[in-house]
Symmetry: C2
Subunit: 453 residues, 2 copies
């Protein structure tokens, strides 16, 4: 009976898969979008209910959708999205939507912080951020040297002429950036967003994002120039770092001057939707400029968000709110990126001991690397462990690193899978660890006060 | 001096074009989007200021962008978007965004009407709509037989094995549907949205849209089956018409039952953005279903919009408004479609006398065809000429017909250009004609009242 039912199910699963695979690209884009968005929201809901961040649910929904083919070989509907070089029109469309999604996400993150916020975060945040970038990078590089050399060369060698050294650097770089969103969310959910530890960690996470983007710019440029065969001297690395910092600083200075003038002109237009279009054009414009300057487009998108403030749009009327206008757009676009990252994880990679080794090593490096942060806090009475734990989650920036590395040919499918698993695990362990640590710190501080009395 | 400046300008224009053509697909998508959205808004603004509909400005902005190469052979940046078969990744991405744009537009149009609205429009609207579909179709077919046969076969023959008969049918079909949006906008701008002529025309335009979608479904299916060599009997055409009507009716009946239950479940979710995602999923789901039933995806999107009412989302809270959430999304997506339609117009086609002939013939057929409508109004004291003139503008549905026909291989680049020019001209002439006609009718009715006294 069960066997018969399974066979009937198997038959229909096969039929459905064959039917979908045969549909034209326009229909498959719609079906991809339906499955991706429905999966994202189901995953987000499930994870929020068990006290985990929504983004984790979206990633894992993607992992499940992409790996359905392991359960039933016919469910390979998502295979075109997992190809190293995309050829299917529907897959190219979805990939484009995901790329626009991540640009809009970084724009939104930028909108939520401002240049003056960045100036306000204290010296502690700056130290925490810097240490939190350097130590994981070094540990990641070390893990990569330990394990990557054990991966069979025919699996590792994705692009000819690349030195293994570049892989180590890229893997190290994926470990740098703390995800602002996830940390903020956990502190907010606990009603502890105002405690000094939260302030320091959130400040650090913002600086962290910027440092991460600079590292990404430098590392990508290094690898692109390595591709052409030219070695990179220390001088050249310093030059690239200066370009990255120069772009951000230049965009902020020129932008702060130009944007109010631009929005003032735009406000004189009568046609509808101009506030949103102006904001999106500034975002896309800086993204394209960043890309042409050899940086990742998201660096420009983040800078665009930093420059734009609600005040620039006050001429559009009293109810003008650029964040509330951009939100419906990101609601649709952003989950596509996270689910697609999950879809591209190849669970079958984890039968290789070396890949399991790298994943475990990366997770440990990611967690331990950030624990050094707490040691450099100067304020007294601050719980150092809470700060170290708060810095653990890696999110969008790590994933962007991995996907850019995949595009450059330094990160192959297996390493990409290992990085995504690292992002998933670090994000997964943070909320319970942080809740425990905050409770412990508050209990201790109560006990100290009692013993003082 | 002038010659030198021109040469310098020419030099930089060449450099810019070469630079853009060499950029990678990710950057080019951003640059395409920037040029398309900026062009759309500049065009919309300009046309609104001279009292013309914004959509016309978007179409003409597209025509200018796409035909820049005629001014300067090096400005061929938009050529990848004009290819009959798209191969460039950036072009595939933009095409996908435009397709999603038109689906979301029809969804929004559907949201603005409801099933009960459709029932309320009177018998006059129904007669006006039916006549306004049949007469232009017949005239368009006739124009096509007159001119298409004069087009050199090597230009006309886009797909082998197609009978010219199919081209006539498709050209006739592009003339059927009045654009609700443009007519409504003109009456609204004049403060005459409540006059009986406006009510009848707007009611007719809504029915017209549905009739147009049914015709599109039938015609596309006819041509697809003609492709396989099978002739279509009258019986089969009737069957296809019934499928189209059946899909719409079925979607409305099943949807009206299912949607409130679906939104009730969705309202129980805690994760963010679920109202918008639910609406978008219903829209994409019905679009994919329509497509699989052999209809155009927009038929499903329109049905989804008709089914969804604000009341279904009341459980999401008092401020829930699905239209205000979908608007920022359509603000970005929809202009991409109209500008892309303009970009694909090849102005160089208009050196061929036969193409000029077809365009002029189509424009005349489009305008004269709708003048028959006024004759069938039953209400007394209604100005028949105002009704005929109000039905003139063709818009999105005509363009969708043309672009689907292009995809099917019945409408070649030259015929496509002729149809877009027809849409532009009919939209362009309506506002001044309608303003004149309304003023004339009101003056006459005042004179009649005075002579009664």
């Amino acid at each position: 009976m069960v066997a018969e039912l399974l066979q009937i199910f198997h038959h229909y699963a096969y039929e459905a898969a064959a039917f979908l695979a045969g549909a034209d690209a326009g229909v498959r884009v719609l079906v991809y979008l339906i499955l991706i968005l429905a999966g994202a929201k189901l995953g987000a809901e499930l994870f929020e209910r068990i006290g985990q961040p929504a983004v984790l649910g979206e990633l894992i929904a993607g992992v499940i959708l992409g790996n359905l083919t392991l359960i039933n070989g016919h469910w390979d509907f998502f295979e075109p999205l997992r190809a190293t070089v995309l050829t299917d029109h529907a897959a190219i469309g979805i990939d484009m939507l995901a790329k626009i999604g991540i640009i809009l996400l970084l724009f939104e993150v930028g909108l939520e912080s401002s240049v003056s916020d960045m100036r306000r975060v204290g010296i502690s945040s700056f130290l925490v951020a810097t240490i939190g970038v350097i130590v994981p990078f070094v540990l990641g590089y070390f893990v990569s040297t330990l394990f990557v050399t054990k991966v069979p060369p025919e699996i590792l060698a994705v692009s000819p002429g690349f030195s293994v050294h570049n892989i180590h650097i890229f893997i190290g770089a994926t470990l740098c950036a703390t995800s602002v969103g996830i940390t903020a969310r956990v502190f907010k959910d606990m009603g502890r967003i105002q405690m000094p530890e939260a302030r320091i960690v959130l400040g650090a996470a913002v600086i962290d994002d910027v440092l991460g983007l600079i590292i990404l710019a430098t590392v990508s440029a290094m690898i692109s120039s390595a591709e052409t065969g030219a070695g990179l001297s220390f001088f050249e690395i310093a030059k690239l770092t200066l370009i990255a910092i120069g772009f951000l600083a230049g965009a902020l200075i020129v932008g702060t001057y130009l944007v109010p003038r631009l929005t003032k002109i735009a406000a004189k237009f009568r046609t509808q939707g101009l506030m949103l279009i102006t904001a999106v054009l500034i975002c896309f414009g800086l993204s394209a400029l960043a890309s042409e300057a050899g940086l990742a487009p998201i660096v420009g998108a983040f800078a665009a968000g930093l420059i734009l403030e609600e005040i620039h749009f006050k001429e559009f009327g009293p109810n003008a709110g650029i964040r509330s206008l951009i939100q419906p757009v990101t609601t649709i676009f952003v989950p596509i990126f996270f689910v697609l990252m999950g879809i591209q994880v190849r669970l079958e990679s984890f039968v290789m001991p070396s890949i399991i080794g790298i994943s475990a090593g990366l997770i440990l490096a990611a967690i331990i690397g950030k624990q050094a942060c707490g040691l450099f806090v100067r304020e007294k009475g601050v719980d150092r462990m809470t700060i170290g734990l708060g810095m653990i989650p890696r999110g969008e920036v790590g994933l962007i690193f991995a996907s850019i590395g995949k595009g450059l040919g330094v990160v192959n499918d297996e390493l990409f899978s290992a990085v995504v698993i690292m992002v998933i695990v670090t994000t997964f362990v943070t909320p319970p660890l942080l809740k425990w640590s905050v409770a412990r710190a508050e209990k201790r501080s109560r006990q100290m006060k009692e013993s003082d009395l």
